[in-house]
Symmetry: D2
Subunit: 152 residues, 4 copies
């Protein structure tokens, strides 16, 4: 069973309701709880790189993500990410990471809401990450697509 | 995108609370609702073969499942199944179906309960079904394992 | 069994996640769904007066609420309301409505989230509305308190 | 604010899914979690008297419930109870307890399921218990009804 590295970057996935402000905010990631709910037995290590809306993600943030993926011991990586700029980050990863299977996933509805697509997407992403050949992929809607290789 | 055939056989996955009897019963399958919640965009066709507890599954039931898989036009198949005898059905499929990717999955907690592992497992199963080579597999806990090939 | 009139004004109660904007917005009220979930058999009629954050509620809005309560045929009224200015509206009602039992309630967490206090509060509010003597009350946290009578 | 005593007897309210047996069983009561979810601030003390299906409730069980209510320091009591024989227990309480407000409530769907009526009923029961005059009542569906006084 290949070990999987999970990098958390925020996105809708991890937003939750803040009673004080009455708005959606980031607190801690829900990934461990979601993997427990899914009774996931894969050898997984989770690291939160940032907790931001992907519209607020800068080039420096993307460099940080690319660097962590490139330096990771694990060759199979899942990244949770906001959907708005997931394609840009995937392109940056496709330019900067080789020889590893990197799968980005996200959610349209926060997990903290009862009716999120997040749990389905996470099950999908960790599965694709185990069996797809090296490359950068986006896993959403039960599908996977290869990241576009574009000049940076 | 490969089309996926989903065969429903029942199992914990689809059990729900019956107010009249106060016990867990089968009504309709939750698969369409779960795929909608997961915003699944794979070309999927669902057919309910039976709605039973897998402890009640007979050899004739297994033959029916094998025949439907063997005759299916789609070469990629997901089967929802009770966990108690999932391995037996996987073995029957391994003996009777060739040249197709068949993935069995199930749940430890009914989907109708808020905290089911079913949505995670379904996301996992449809993903494995798309990328694994022909064979019979069990997808649970984020993992996949090949069905044992045993003399029938 | 006395008939109860329910006036909806918005508040956290009815906020839901808008995928397009990624923020919390008002769509339709969840009151009918909540009463169905609670299997409420009280003779209830629901009318949405406004769907706003109570911080945005103006004096004109409050006058509208008071007028609807004063003119309502039913002598028992429940109002769903944002918590931020619930006390102000209760005070306005205490000045403008006599001879009726008016109960304001709300929620700290939107109902659309799985873990809302809204269903508990609604059960509480419709119960207090049936048995408390005429007056204006706030029902939150399982408790009821009379509205302050203040000069307007 | 009057203190409320809550006696737990089991019933659909507290049933949950047991993975080992695949059936609905009693473990611990969900009352504390439900009161927390409802952000209940009433001074409440909870005691589990039994955890049984109300169809299995014997005359001895009912005597036990009556005795605990009669001896309770609190004059306001909520009892969670299976719906099948709630009326019988209410009648026994009406014969055996005087000078106290006793409210029985239950649920048609276990709380552990996401879509239970239990939270609504609990909000209703604790509210009725605070304001109704001494007597024995059943609170379900947002309504309350007095227990029938029948010869025991």
């Amino acid at each position: 069973m290949p070990a999987i590295r999970i990098f958390v970057t925020g996105g809708t996935f991890d937003k939750e309701y803040d009673e004080l402000t009455g708005s959606l905010e980031f607190k801690d990631t829900h990934l461990p709880e979601m993997l427990r709910l899914g009774r996931c037995r894969i050898d997984v290590s989770i690291r939160t790189l940032m907790m931001i809306d992907s519209l607020d993600m800068t080039d420096a943030d993307r460099e940080l993500i690319v660097r962590h993926c490139a330096q990771s011991d694990e060759s199979r990586i899942v990244i949770t990410h906001g959907t708005d700029t997931m394609v840009e980050t995937a392109a940056a990863l496709a330019r900067g990471v080789t020889g590893k299977t990197v799968v980005l996933t996200g959610a349209m509805i926060p997990y903290a809401f009862g009716s999120s697509d997040g749990l389905f997407n996470l099950g999908s992403a960790v599965s694709f990450a185990q069996v797809l050949p090296p490359g950068v992929y986006i896993a959403m809607n039960g599908q996977h697509s290869a990241a576009p290789i574009t000049p940076g």
